[in-house]
């Protein structure tokens, strides 16, 4: 094509097709992200932005005013992520395995129901669970009582030691349908012949799942893990809706998103600090970038993709 036309005329239509998307994306997403990274190297001195090198990061990681909050938020965020990996993804895979069993009736109905929580906003989910778990209303104690476990009830969202785990489980409740449907799709795409071949070798039921299906859906498990990772380290809404910007009780549910919001905008206890807000955003960017690179170069490459 290019050889035939020695001097190709400039193809305006390509530019017209590409320009709107590239412009909006670059101007509203890429430039602000880099500008935020840039701002994390500046500080406000008498209303002037002054370059301070790595000082903001040193403060964030080492200065007592910031470091305690930062490491607390990072620790909480990691726990938030762990709960998702340990509960959301395994349970999602289990439900998907059950749902994909051949000749299961009402499969379409179950499929429709599992993502109902995922379409609700964090505000709805946060408040709905807050009401249900509230000792004032008494639905949760009543339900526990009906199975004889009333003594287990505690105001979970109000206790420092339970609040974060409770919120993580609420988030798991909300999003479990997504990994489940992704795995479900992967399981359905395994061809019948592969399973039949396994059956001839005596692999059925549970062992067929472990030895044939699970290895084949590993790439999908990799994808849901990285999606969970990015989503969790960028989370904010649920904690804010349920516990407010202070991520109570006593910062026990503070994660990086709420910490950044509080720092950037300020609250009853402190003034907003644009540069420190940008610094926390940059730290989040670093964490997400490391996670994504680890996935792309270490995990995804090792997983063999099977083409049928």
């Amino acid at each position: 094509m290019q050889n035939a036309e020695r001097k190709p005329r400039f193809k305006w239509h390509i530019l017209v097709f590409l320009a709107p998307a590239v412009l909006v994306y670059t101007a509203i997403m890429i430039i602000p992200i880099f500008d935020t990274l840039r701002m994390s190297f500046f500080a406000d001195v008498d209303n002037n932005q002054v370059f301070v090198g790595w000082q903001n990061f040193k403060m964030l990681f080492g200065d007592e005013r910031w470091a305690d909050h930062f490491w607390n938020a990072l620790k909480n965020n990691s726990w938030f992520f762990m709960i998702h990996m340990l509960v959301q993804n395994p349970v999602g895979i289990m439900l998907a395995a059950i749902l994909s069993s051949p000749k299961l009736r009402f499969a379409a109905a179950y499929r429709t129901v599992v993502i109902v929580p995922a379409i609700l906003s964090f505000v709805i989910v946060g408040f709905a669970w807050k009401l249900i778990l509230s000792p004032l209303w008494g639905i949760a104690p009543w339900l526990l009582d009906s199975v004889g476990l009333k003594s287990l009830f505690a105001p979970w969202l109000g206790k420092e030691e339970y609040a974060l785990t409770t919120l993580s489980l609420i988030s798991v409740w909300q999003f479990i349908g997504i990994p489940m449907l992704l795995i479900y799709a992967a399981l359905l795409s395994i061809p019948e012949e592969v399973l039949e071949a396994g059956e001839c070798d005596g692999l059925t039921g549970f062992s067929a799942f472990w030895k044939i299906k699970l290895p084949l859906i590993l790439p999908s498990i990799g994808i849901i893990s990285i999606l969970t990772f990015v989503g969790n380290f960028n989370a904010f809404d649920l904690i804010y809706a349920a516990q407010g910007a202070l991520a109570g009780p006593n910062y026990s549910t503070d994660i990086l998103g709420t910490f950044m919001y509080r720092t950037f905008f300020g609250n009853q206890l402190q003034l907003g600090d644009v540069n420190m807000g940008a610094t926390i955003a940059s730290a989040m960017f670093g964490i997400i970038l490391v996670g994504v690179c680890l996935y792309l170069f270490a995990i995804q490459r090792r997983l063999r993709r099977y083409q049928f």
């Binding site: 193809k11 998307a21 997403m29 609700l120 505000v123």
Partner: protein, 279 residues
């Protein structure tokens, strides 16, 4: 015989687990909806009973409609979601067509550049986005939200649509060219109608996060006139914490439009997730 019995046991167990999960998924929604139509006394006495003749009350809805401007919030959410989706689909499809159809220098690189945004969340740039919106006077306008959501939706839209555009038959496009159609006409009249199912998938994927977002409305457009339904219900509930009727009614009013949308689009959404569009 033995095998048949085991199969029955298996399917009972499968349905048992799935039904338990279904109950768990729907229970909170159900509890909120039924209690929003009850008197305050009944909410606390019998939280799990359906509203009956003597417990039925719409006092919560009356409070909500009097105090909060929910119609306005709803309108704002609708405008932001629909306009953002329009631009995501139009710009996304145009860029995807260019990437799939033409060979030009930097094609792959541009594709990768646009795909970056799939993994890096736009929220990282919030500090600078707010600065930019303040500088351009767009704070507290719906335009700011529309711009942000368009940028947020484009990466995945371009990525998915490029895959689909590559499958459109080459012969069809060349036939169009021989008939003298311009490249624009080929895109709008031949290719777009063919990728309509993929466009629907992209639309549904983007619709839910935009409608439900709390972060950007809170930061870019928190004024009374530009509040979205999600932010509006958050603020309203925060102010009326102790008025259970009003809180439950506000929650229900936020749930119902989403459920209606879901009933309309659920097949599209599930097909989108399970068709491997996000692989």
């Amino acid at each position: 015989m033995n095998k048949a019995r085991r199969n029955i046991w298996h399917s009972v167990a499968a349905h048992g687990i799935l039904l338990t999960y279904t109950l768990l998924a729907l229970f909170p929604v159900f509890v909120i909806l039924i209690n929003s139509f009850k008197t305050r006394k009944a909410i606390f006495r019998h939280p799990l009973q359906l509203p009956g003749p003597d417990t039925f009350s719409t006092i919560g809805y009356d409070t909500v409609l009097k105090q909060g401007d929910f119609i306005q919030y709803f309108e704002n959410s609708l405008i932001v979601t629909v306009v953002s989706l329009f631009f995501v689909l139009l710009f996304g499809a145009m860029a995807a067509f260019a990437l799939a159809e033409y060979r030009f220098k930097g094609n792959t690189l541009l594709g990768l550049f646009l795909a970056l945004g799939i993994m890096i969340p736009i929220r990282i740039g919030t500090v600078a986005i707010l600065k930019m919106m303040v500088a351009s006077g767009l704070v507290n306008t719906l335009t700011a939200l529309i711009l942000v959501y368009t940028a947020q939706g484009l990466p995945l839209a371009v990525f998915i649509l490029t895959e689909f555009m590559k499958q459109v038959s080459e012969d069809l496009k060349n036939a169009g060219r021989i008939d003298g159609l311009s490249e624009y006409a080929i895109f709008f009249r031949l290719v777009l109608p063919l990728v309509r199912p993929a466009m629907a998938t992209v639309a549904v994927f983007n619709m839910i996060p935009i409608w439900n977002d709390l972060w950007f409305p809170l930061i870019l457009a928190p004024s009374e006139a530009t509040k979205t339904l999600t932010l509006g219900s958050q603020v309203f509930i925060g102010q009326f914490v102790t008025n259970w009727n009003a809180v439950l009614a506000a929650l229900s009013m936020a749930i119902i439009p989403v459920l209606v949308l879901y009933v309309i689009f659920s097949r599209q959404l599930i097909r989108g997730i399970t068709s491997g569009a996000v692989k």
